[in-house]
């Protein structure tokens, strides 16, 4: 029997030690950028307590259906080039809390990895909650036979965030997960009124960490209210705001992922 992941060419995880740094944002924008390069992308959202992915594509009210091979992922539009799976689709009411201990979370994650009928995908992006616990251990274990491409780690520039992401790097090392690189998010804010740049969350910590740890630095993404707004409304930021401040850095990350996979296959 053919595994549900057999048609998935590349699997990559988006991790952080820290909460609120923009993992789901990066996962979403990476999917949109890869889609614009003509790729078919899936996002598996294993944040069971705080699933943000469905609303970032404005499909939070969709239901999940079953087919012979398992769950059918939710397509974000008629194009069918981006598909999603998240616990968000399985909740009766959107405000329902998932108050589960580890074992129950682990069981669902195993199902999510094995039982979603993705079909053929160029990329499966796995968005995770912050930390190095049940969700992360279970996800990496379940994905191991499928040889993930690796992980992108997201931090904000300050030391307090970098401090947690250092531990996430250790997690990757210990679990044999290749680090594709580090992204420094929320890196500076350019005032739309006077163009003054303020480093609200400091600057440079992500780049320094990448250097210190000997992993690629994938780039800095500035705070961009148009990006925040797009996510609120479930819009395609990459399509609609190519002149916005976060656009170059986001598309550059996608390009590096594409270049990396080309290298891998050759």
């Amino acid at each position: 029997e053919r595994s549900n992941l057999a048609g998935v060419r590349h699997i990559l995880l988006v991790l952080s030690g820290k909460g609120g740094v923009g993992k789901s944002t990066i996962s979403t924008q990476l999917a949109l950028s890869l889609r614009h390069s003509g790729k078919k992308v899936g996002i598996l959202d294993v944040d069971l307590c705080g699933p943000s992915i469905p609303s970032m594509f404005r499909v939070q009210d969709n239901d999940v259906h079953q087919c012979d091979s398992g769950w059918v992922p939710v397509f974000v539009d008629q194009d069918k080039s981006i598909s999603l799976m998240s616990i968000g689709f399985l909740l009766e009411k959107p405000d329902d809390a998932v108050v589960w201990r580890g074992p129950k979370k682990n069981a669902l994650i195993k199902q999510f990895v094995a039982d979603v009928a993705w079909g053929d995908l160029d990329f499966l992006i796995v968005d995770t909650p912050p930390g190095t616990s049940d969700e992360h251990i279970s996800t990496v274990e379940a994905l191991r036979p499928y040889k993930p491409l690796g992980a992108i780690l997201v931090t904000t520039p300050q030391a307090v965030s970098v401090g947690d992401v250092r531990r996430e790097l250790t997690f990757c090392k210990k679990t044999g997960l290749r680090v594709l690189g580090i992204v420094e998010n929320m890196s500076g804010f350019v005032c739309p009124h006077c163009s003054e740049c303020t480093n609200i969350f400091s600057k440079g910590g992500g780049e320094e960490l990448a250097k210190h740890a000997g992993v690629p630095f994938l780039g800095s993404i500035p705070l961009d209210p148009q990006l925040s707004q797009s996510l609120e409304e479930g819009r395609d930021f990459i399509q609609e705001f190519p002149k916005s401040s976060a656009f170059p850095a986001l598309t550059h990350i996608a390009q590096q992922v594409l270049d990396g996979t080309l290298q891998r296959s050759s």
Binding site: G17, K18, G19, G20, S24, L48, C49, G50, S52, S55, P94, D95, D96, A97, V98, V99, W100, R101, G102, P103, K105, N106, P129, P130, G131, T132, S133, D134, I137, Q158, A159, V160, G163, D164, R166, R167, E168, L169, T170, F171, K174, T175, F189, C191, P192, H193, C194, E196, T198, N199, I200, F201, S202, L223, P225, S228, Q229, L231, E232, E233
Partner: protein, 233 residues
């Protein structure tokens, strides 16, 4: 007399923010000693048990619960007025365990933090439901990162836009108190990174005023609570 307990086992930020990185925990006859910043402020975190800033705590739920139990049972806090428990994001093991283990001690309540956007509120509504589920009273909600005033032109930007009415609307809808809004201030991150008190470093900042107002409201809530408890006794 204040105790700060950090139960974010995977991402312990409190030691760094308090300028206590590198400190270790000492054992005595009466248990683990908290690390004191001041005579009246003691801190405990898994951060103090790790020997390197690169050490990862890769534990499943049961092991995390075990450590939280130890923190609550074996740390010799002494007589304290306030025990503040900092938690990781979510509604899982850490949250269930700390509520369970403290049930006999009677928790005054929870302060819930959000940012203004719907993406954040979405998760916070779940946290509010968690509190209802486990019968944890809610002291109120704080809206953090609420607007940014450019230091040069003084115009305000909503970097994290409250597209659905922010915490204010949510609190109205769910009948919980909005304790206050804290604006973005680059000095906050800087102070935390240096392990210094933002309130002391930037006494004139609008964020300081916000923090102080919020803290006062929390104290008032707790005082009222204590008064009501004493009435019952």
């Amino acid at each position: 007399q204040v105790a700060l307990l950090d139960i974010d086992i995977c991402g312990p930020s409190i030691p760094k923010m308090m300028g206590l990185e590198g400190e270790q925990v000492h054992q005595s006859g009466s248990g683990w000693s908290p690390v004191y910043i001041e005579e009246n402020l003691g801190v405990m975190s898994v951060g103090f048990l790790l020997s390197s800033p690169d050490d990862a705590v890769i534990w499943r739920g049961p092991k995390k619960n075990g450590l939280i139990k130890q923190f609550l049972r074996d740390v010799d806090w002494g007589e304290i007025d306030y025990l503040i428990v900092d938690t990781p994001p979510g509604t899982s093991d850490e949250h269930l365990s700390v509520v369970q283990y403290l049930s006999a001690a009677h928790i005054d309540g929870a302060v819930i933090i959000t940012t203004p956007q719907e993406v954040s509120l979405q998760d916070v509504r779940k946290e509010i439901n968690f509190c209802h589920k486990v019968k944890l009273p809610i002291i109120g909600v704080v809206e953090n990162m609420s607007g940014f005033i450019c230091p040069k032109c003084k115009n305000e930007s909503q970097i994290f836009p409250p597209t659905t009415g922010g915490a204010e609307k949510m609190c109205q809808n769910l009948n919980v108190s909005l304790l206050g809004k804290v604006p973005l201030d680059p000095q906050i991150g800087k102070s935390c990174d240096k392990g210094q008190s933002f309130l002391s470093e930037a006494p004139e900042s609008p964020a300081t005023t916000s923090y102080r107002n919020i803290i006062q409201r929390i104290q008032e809530y707790c005082d009222q609570h204590r008064f009501q408890e004493e009435k019952i006794i």
